[in-house]
């Protein structure tokens, strides 16, 4: 049984589960058989039809290395499984927000109940996407007391996504194992705290999505690229921003197949999430969101048409890519009213008209980036290694084959500035402390896959041993 097919099957299962659950949850409720059915359907499809890339090297992985990695991941998984099941969430957002949704969805997996439907009920983060909450709730209904094992399983899926994404890369097997281990052992994933894999937050689920997107870009896998984009949208509010960034990377790269897959993932996710979100925000009509979906569809077609007309190499595309964030920033005051003021993105949009004042927050943000991204070692050396690999590759004049993943990671890291430029919090330092480490966590998978892409030309250049 090939790892990449199992992983693809699990990603498909998540997508199938969400598509069905998003419809069921607006009606009488998600049936208990839906989670196992989606798992079986996804795994069967992945195993039967998955066209996993062949491993790029016939050099076998040393058995001791594989077993060592498996043992370390097992120790980490056991800690997360224990931490997930032993108590409900033990940290702020997990307890205040995610556990409340899971509690009510476990009792009745439908939005047709006062907690979700009735205006005035205290509902923290009402428009947070429901994929993880529904997964945990449905698992809890199947195996009472063990539903939160889903959180530890998402960690395993993350490790599997990284291993499967590295499999087709031409590099020494030991390096591939080491890179997978580097992601799996990142301190912030495992150390107890908000954002750890067992904390109840959706950070790891979103990390699975961003790593899948990066894997799709790295291996030109349209299926992974589309799945990752779709899963990002239905996992966390900022996932929609990451999904748009991924589509922009495919557009700038001029890869029409990836672009079509990205648009498909984006539109299916928006089409299934928007009606659910409308109920959660007590919007009397979903027409505003359908208008948005129609607008997004038109934009997709326009971008697809533009890929045929823009010059290649893509000077024009890069200019567009640079102009797009600026245009978006200038358009913020215009589009802000489209977001409900109580929604996760709306609270930032209320500051949109004053974005230029928020630029004064950038020095504090950059200092926090240095602290939480590098010096505090919460992420280990995750962001140091690719920088070193890039510097060395430049010095060796090795060809860089990391454009897509690098651009995606770059877009992602730049996007982490937005909540602080548009910060609604009077205490910026508190906002940085509580949010930035988790935003950075979303990018550790793409960072390790970027490292793999940067290392590959070295391997290609090395003369074969005789």
């Amino acid at each position: 049984m090939r790892l990449d097919r199992v992983v693809t099957g699990m990603l498909l299962a998540l997508a199938i589960f969400w598509i069905g659950a998003s419809a069921f949850v607006r009606g009488d409720g998600v049936p208990d058989w839906w989670l196992p059915a989606a798992l079986a359907g996804g795994l069967f499809t992945g195993l039967a039809t998955g066209r996993g890339e062949p491993a790029a090297t016939s050099e076998p992985t040393p058995r001791w290395a594989s077993w060592t990695l498996a043992a370390l991941v097992a120790v980490a998984f056991a800690a997360l499984a224990y931490g997930a099941v032993a108590t409900p969430s033990r940290h702020w957002d997990g307890a205040a927000s995610f556990d409340a949704k899971v509690f009510w969805l476990t009792r009745a997996p439908t939005l047709q109940q006062p907690f979700f439907e009735a205006a005035g009920v205290f509902h923290h983060g009402p428009d947070y996407p429901l994929l993880q909450a529904l997964l945990v709730a449905m698992a809890e209904r199947l195996a009472p007391g063990f539903g939160r094992l889903v959180l530890a399983m998402l960690y395993l899926l993350l490790v599997g996504v990284a291993a499967a994404a590295l499999r087709p890369r031409a590099m020494p097997p030991l390096v591939r194992v080491a890179l997978t281990g580097c992601l799996a052992l990142t301190p912030a994933l495992l150390t107890p705290g908000g954002g750890a894999a067992d904390s109840g937050y959706s950070e790891v689920a979103l990390l699975v999505a961003t790593t899948t997107i990066a894997g799709g870009l790295l291996n030109r896998s349209t299926l992974w690229f589309g799945l990752g984009i779709g899963l990002a949208v239905v996992t966390k509010p900022e996932g929609a921003i990451y999904a748009v960034a991924a589509v922009a990377v495919a557009f700038v790269g001029g890869n029409r197949r990836l672009l079509v897959a990205g648009f498909a993932g984006l539109l299916v996710a928006l089409g299934t999430w928007s009606p659910v979100r409308a109920v959660l925000l007590h919007q009397p009509s979903t027409s505003l969101w359908w208008q948005g979906l129609a607008g997004a569809t038109l934009a997709c077609w326009a971008a697809l048409a533009a890929t045929e007309r823009l010059p290649r190499p893509a000077v024009g595309r890069w200019a567009l890519a640079l102009a797009a964030p600026l245009a978006l920033l200038l358009a913020l005051p215009v589009i802000a009213p489209w977001f409900a003021p109580e929604s996760a993105i709306g609270v930032y949009m209320r500051q949109a008209a004053r974005w230029h004042q928020g630029l004064a927050n950038l020095p504090d943000y950059l200092a926090a980036m240095l602290a939480y991204g590098i010096t505090r070692l919460r992420l280990g050396l995750t962001f140091v290694v690719p920088l070193a690999a890039l510097a060395i590759a430049r010095a060796r004049r090795a060809p860089l084959a990391a454009g897509g993943v690098g651009a995606f990671l770059g877009f992602g890291l730049v996007s982490t500035a937005l909540p602080f430029v548009l910060s609604p919090e009077p205490d910026l330092q508190h906002h940085l402390r509580s949010s930035l480490p988790r935003l950075l966590l979303h990018w550790i998978g793409p960072a390790w896959l970027l490292t793999a892409a940067l290392l590959q030309p070295w391997h290609d250049q090395d003369p074969p041993r005789t």
């Binding site: 033990r90 307890a95 509690f103 009735a118 009920v121 509902h123 580097c182 067992d198 280990g380 070193a388």
Partner: protein, 134 residues
């Protein structure tokens, strides 16, 4: 060769950092955290860890408001009040402005009252909780 060695050192350093944390920070700290949670109870553990007051008020509400009732809340909604809805479930926590003054039920559930009137929970300026109508 030097470049490859430098990268190997960085990769090895990251791996060693992760491995070194497994026994203490990953396992021991997690076990201690679970033990503390069980000893303190959800409300006290969560609020004290978040440097907030209000655990006594949550425990009073849990002891005195039946599980099928509605507890009203009053602005501001920050701080300890963020935890109230999750910690009081299956009681519903409802904005008092959404409930008419003469209503006795909300969404088919009785609204919690005492001899002093409706029970209303409110966030305080110091991150704690205040209960009106106790």
């Amino acid at each position: 060769m030097k470049a490859a060695t430098a990268l190997a050192v960085l990769l090895g350093g990251h791996l060693l950092l992760g491995i070194a944390r497994l026994p203490g920070r990953v396992w021991q700290r997690r076990v201690a955290e679970v033990r503390a949670y069980r000893e303190a109870g959800a409300a006290r553990f969560l609020l004290e860890r978040a440097k907030l007051d209000g655990a006594d008020e949550i425990e009073w509400l849990l002891a005195n408001v039946p599980a099928d009732h509605v507890v009203l809340w009053r602005w501001p909604a920050d701080g300890a009040l963020e935890f109230v809805a999750a910690l009081l479930a299956p009681r519903l926590v409802v904005d008092e402005r959404a409930v008419p003054d003469d209503a006795t039920t909300f969404a088919g559930r009785p609204i919690a009252t005492s001899a002093n009137g409706r029970i209303v929970v409110q966030g305080t300026e110091h991150g704690g909780l205040r209960i009106h109508g106790r």
